[in-house]
């Protein structure tokens, strides 16, 4: 009973933590990027101010916006927030871990995308449609690639539960494996595409013909936009936490640990996020955006890599 209560407590802390850290991570990436481009850059705290400002503003709705358009930001934010709460950040002792595994996490992100794409089509502008159709094309590659990555990891570890995967990985019995390297590459490629980063999409433009994510949310304003932007920030944190949890779970606390390891887990988590954010900024600065129809090649490559990794494991391992 005490363990259950503790896991609920850690779950709540985890949900609060991701919510609090997500804007900071986005601000940090932007700041590092501007330093690399020899600009001063806004403070890493700027995203907090942006969201607070948006929350205070009026919502401007198109005349024909339906209830789905107004409800979608809440559904999107909820889905991504819950998904982010499922990824062990500083401890693997989470109450939701047995209720939802990696497959459920992938599907939850799929739900968020489903409603975002529908919301993009609700007002009936060409921008919304262009964004939605491209988003679904990207998802058609990214989701199976992610699922094959899940397969590789699940077969290696013998479970699809993220908490158990983290516990297993940190025990060090896995060693270096080709399949894991392929899975990591696929996951990084998917993460770049899903978070609308360069070279797939550009998060800092609004009127470019190749944009995807920003086109879908063009009609949003005020608190709705704050939620959608917040969800995008949470998603970036989620993917980084996911990569950290599967491929670099060191420092994480485990069931039965006390307060000390949990605090240490927090410190290492912050460090991992800072490193990941800096790496993302360096990568984005050093590469050019690709044409939207090259995305198929890029993500098709991710899908093939992940499938190859899974095949290696399916053949080499009797569970």
């Amino acid at each position: 009973m005490k363990a259950l209560l503790l896991s609920v407590l850690w779950q709540v802390v985890q949900m609060a933590l991701v919510l609090a850290l997500a804007p900071l991570l986005t601000g940090w990436v932007r700041w590092v990027k501007s330093r690399l481009q020899a600009r001063c850059g806004a403070s890493p705290l700027q995203p907090y101010r942006d969201i607070l400002r948006l929350l205070r503003k009026d919502v401007v709705l198109a005349h024909n916006a339906s209830w789905l358009f107004r409800a979608s930001p809440y559904m999107i934010f909820t889905a991504i927030w819950v998904a982010a709460g499922l990824v062990p950040a500083f401890t693997s002792h989470l109450a939701l871990a047995p209720s939802a595994d990696l497959i459920a996490l992938v599907a939850l992100l799929g739900s968020a995308r489903f409603f975002l794409a529908l919301a993009g089509m609700d007002v009936g502008t060409s921008f919304g449609g262009i964004g939605s159709s491209r988003e679904m094309m990207i998802a058609a590659f990214a989701e199976p690639a992610m699922m094959m990555m899940v397969f590789s990891v699940a077969i290696l570890v013998g479970t699809t539960s993220l908490a158990e995967i983290a516990d297993f990985m940190v025990s060090g019995t896995v060693g270096l494996r080709v399949s894991l390297a392929l899975a990591l590459m696929a996951l990084v490629m998917v993460a770049i595409a899903e978070n609308a980063r360069i070279p797939i999409d550009n998060p800092s433009t609004h009127l470019e013909l190749t944009m995807v994510h920003e086109a879908m949310v063009l009609e949003y304003s005020g608190r709705h936009l704050a939620l959608v932007e917040g969800a995008a920030m949470l998603k970036l944190l989620l993917y980084m936490a996911l990569i950290a949890c599967i491929f670099a779970p060191w420092g994480m606390a485990h069931p039965g640990d006390g307060l000390g390891p949990a605090l240490w887990g927090l410190v290492t988590f912050a460090g991992k996020m800072a490193l990941g954010g800096a790496a993302l900024a360096v990568f984005e600065t050093s590469i050019a955006k690709m044409r939207v129809f090259r995305v198929g090649d890029f993500l098709g490559g991710a899908l093939l890599l992940a499938t190859l990794g899974a095949i290696f494991l399916f053949v080499s391992r009797g569970v």
Binding site: A62, T78, S99, S126, A140, A142, E143, M147
Partner: protein, 720 residues
């Protein structure tokens, strides 16, 4: 002998509708059968009476079409019978046990064997549940259609109960003869129902192709049963079960079964009739054909491969995995290219059948590898997906029918903005679209989750080829699921969201209460099964136990009803209830927080039209279904369908409009159907010459044919 034949012929004609005839015939023809099975008849009597009621309703349907309120009697009666049969099947499934009855019907040497075991009961439950909702819907749909589009088309009333009776009989058949007769019964009834709208363009072609493919399918099934029964000529399923065919006969039998039942279920490339015929029927019949008749074909495959043939060979499952993967991915790619809402749904049925066949193939390879628990897991995934698909596909067809009844069109390019004019339909369709895109916490996701859990056990199999194949199958299932999401965002977004693209769409009205209730029931079940799948899996456990001798939860101690944790080498669990509660709680907190602390003012304004601010009554500045499909068409369709977009841009100063044309070719027609049609035509031309011979030549032809046959018989007798 002539007397017997004459008697049984007479009695075949009348026997279907008259119970009293049984008694006078049994005394002479098959005296022992009825006495032996008389006691067991009681348990089957309910199903028999129900099917007789359906047949009577069908007879009643002929005059009822002219009565005022006659449709209510027929649909009401059919719905009541179906509801009763659903309940009966669910109770049989829970109660277990097998009921058999032998009726002195049919051929003189082969009385009609009927049997209800757990597998039949499961499929009866699925068929009749959808039958019940479709009856309610059909009643409302007939009225709505009547009000908008004048007199009702065609004789739907007498055929509708007949169709359901045929499907029920296939599921109860316990010998090849009854099976094939009921199968044809089902095919022909549905063929006539497709012809109900025969004045519409394309319906005649759809019905013709359907008839040809149905004939092909039945011929394959006939040969398959012939091979499985062997030479001793006993076509009861009990005899087939005890008779082990040779490896070659078994292989041919499974192949023919997959061809015959697969063409009815819609396996690519035998699916060509399905997207033509399913949408052409009235919408409640489309729902039955897509949601349920394809499942009857799946039942045939399950019955033969899991039950009648005994020990499976590993490659049967391999063939099913390949066929299912191709079907799943191709089906949903086809669906993404469609502009006709009902045809899109029919192609999505092809995809879902592919997923079901994949799950069955997984179950079969694990059964062959003697890992019954994982086979039970995969089989549970298949059975759950069968239930799920019957629910959300009937819901989606009902919704498409509602849109058709109120706007008069099936073309996505003429819809738009229906969420404002048909709010209830739009909401229920959203549930259906989310469920079929396998989004948690709805039921489609649970089925897919179970299938993935089975796939993750692939490495335990001994065959290398299967290990590689299953990894690829996993990728195919994931790809199909992602494409299904794109497909239904496209369909829902263009039909219900955005702005109206035609006057009919802007003036649409919400449909009547019967149609709304008929849509709400499956929508509610989509949510309930997604949140609490375990009770249903417990209910169908007797069926998995019957087929693979294990249940999906064997060997796991802690199994509460709200928890889904099947036995598997890869540990896992899913809890839809907790999921739903957490999502609801988080959204509530979020909504309250936002409305407490953030600004809650709303202003209305015009949408950003990229500088275009002219009035746009036809909604042409928004995305159309084909423009939405363009990125995926380019990424996937360019190779598979040879899809090409050609732009005709007039020179400056030329006033004709610019035109974008999309061309694509259907590989199933180009590579399979068209060559076969050409071949048949050429052969028919050749054979045609025989029709214009002289008497002398005819006689010599007959003589040589006779000689050839006699030689054949002589050689065969010498040889054996």
């Amino acid at each position: 002998m002539p007397r017997t034949a004459q008697r049984s012929g007479l009695w075949k004609k009348r026997g279907n509708t008259n119970v009293a005839v049984f008694a006078c015939i049994r005394a002479r023809n098959v005296p022992y059968l009825f006495h032996l099975h008389f006691l067991r008849f009681g348990a089957m009597a309910f199903a028999g009476v129900a099917i007789l009621c359906l047949l009577l309703l069908s007879v009643l349907g002929m005059p009822a079409a002219r009565w005022k309120g006659g449709d209510g009697v027929v649909y009401g009666g059919t719905g009541a019978v179906c509801a009763a049969l659903t309940l009966w099947a669910a109770l049989r499934l829970a109660g277990g046990g097998v009921d058999e009855v032998v009726l002195p019907l049919g051929l003189p040497w082969l009385p009609a064997h009927l049997r209800a075991d757990a597998l039949s009961a499961f499929f009866l439950m699925v068929v009749n549940f959808t039958g019940a909702t479709a009856s309610l819907y059909g009643w409302g749909y007939g009225r709505a259609h009547h009000a908008v589009h004048g007199p009702k088309p065609g004789p739907v009333l007498p055929l509708y109960p007949l169709f359901l009776a045929g499907m029920n009989l296939v599921l109860l058949a316990n010998d090849a003869f009854v099976f094939l007769v009921s199968w044809e019964f089902m095919s022909l009834a549905s063929w006539l129902l497709v012809l109900a709208n025969h004045r519409e363009e394309g319906t005649a072609r759809a019905a013709r192709i359907y008839l040809i493919m149905a004939g092909f399918g039945t011929a394959c099934l006939l040969l398959a049963f012939g091979l499985l029964a062997g030479t001793h000529g006993d076509y009861s399923f009990a005899a087939i079960r005890t008779h082990t065919p040779t490896a070659l006969a078994g292989a041919l039998g499974v192949g023919l079964m997959l061809l015959g039942a697969g063409s009815k279920a819609g396996l690519v490339p035998l699916h060509i009739w399905l997207p033509l015929a399913h949408p052409a029927a009235p919408s409640h019949v489309s729902a039955l054909m897509s949601g349920v008749m394809t499942k009857v074909a799946v039942y045939a495959i399950v019955r033969v491969t899991f039950d009648l043939l005994g020990e499976p060979a590993w490659w049967w499952g391999g063939v099913m995995l390949v066929a299912g993967s191709v079907t799943a991915v191709m089906g949903i790619l086809y669906a993404l290219m469609q502009d006709d809402l009902k045809r899109l749904l029919a192609y999505s049925t092809v995809e879902n059948i592919g997923v079901i066949i994949i799950a069955l193939g997984m179950a079969l390879v694990f059964k062959a590898a003697h890992v019954p628990v994982i086979a039970a897991l995969a089989l549970s995934a298949a059975l759950l997906h069968i239930v799920n698909h019957s629910l959300f596909k009937s819901l989606l067809f009902f919704g498409a029918g509602a849109v058709l009844a109120s706007t008069g069109t099936r073309d996505l390019g003429r819809m738009g903005g229906l969420i404002h004019t048909m709010p209830v339909t739009a909401f229920l369709m959203l549930v259906g679209a989310a469920a079929i895109s396998s989004l948690p916490p709805l039921n489609g996701f649970v089925g897919e989750w179970l299938l993935f859990q089975a796939i993750l056990n692939g490495p335990t199999l001994p065959q290398w080829i299967l290990k590689i194949l299953i990894a690829l199958v996993g990728a195919a299932v994931a790809l199909a699921a992602a494409l299904a999401g794109a497909c239904f965002v496209r369909a829902y977004g263009t039909a219900f969201l955005g702005r109206a693209r035609s006057v009919a769409a802007s003036g649409a009205r919400e449909v009547n209460w019967a149609m709304r209730v008929a849509m709400a029931v499956p929508a509610l079940l989509c949510v309930v099964l997604g949140v609490m799948p375990t009770p249903l899996l417990r209910l169908v456990e007797p069926a998995t136990r019957l087929l693979v001798e294990a249940g999906p939860f064997d060997g796991r101690a802690y199994q509460p009803w709200f928890w889904l944790a099947p036995t598997s080498a890869v540990g896992n669990s899913y809890n839809g209830l907790v999921f739903l509660v957490v999502i609801a709680a988080v959204s509530a907190v979020l909504g309250l927080a936002i409305h407490r602390w953030a600004s809650d003012r709303v202003r209305r304004s015009i949408a950003w039209g990229c500088g275009f601010d002219e009035p746009d009554p036809a909604g042409v500045t928004q995305y159309t279904p084909s423009s939405f499909g363009q990125p995926i068409r380019r990424a996937f369709g360019a190779t598979v369908f040879r899809a090409r977009d050609t732009v005709d841009m007039p020179e400056p100063g030329d006033v004709r409009p610019a035109r974008l044309t999309v061309r694509w070719s259907d590989p199933a027609w180009v590579w399979l159907a068209d060559p076969v049609v050409r071949l048949v035509n050429a052969a028919a031309d050749r054979v045609n010459e025989i029709q214009f011979l002289t008497i002398r030549r005819y006689l010599s032809l007959m003589f040589f044919a006779l000689v050839a046959l006699l030689v054949l018989v002589a050689v065969l007798q010498q040889w054996s």
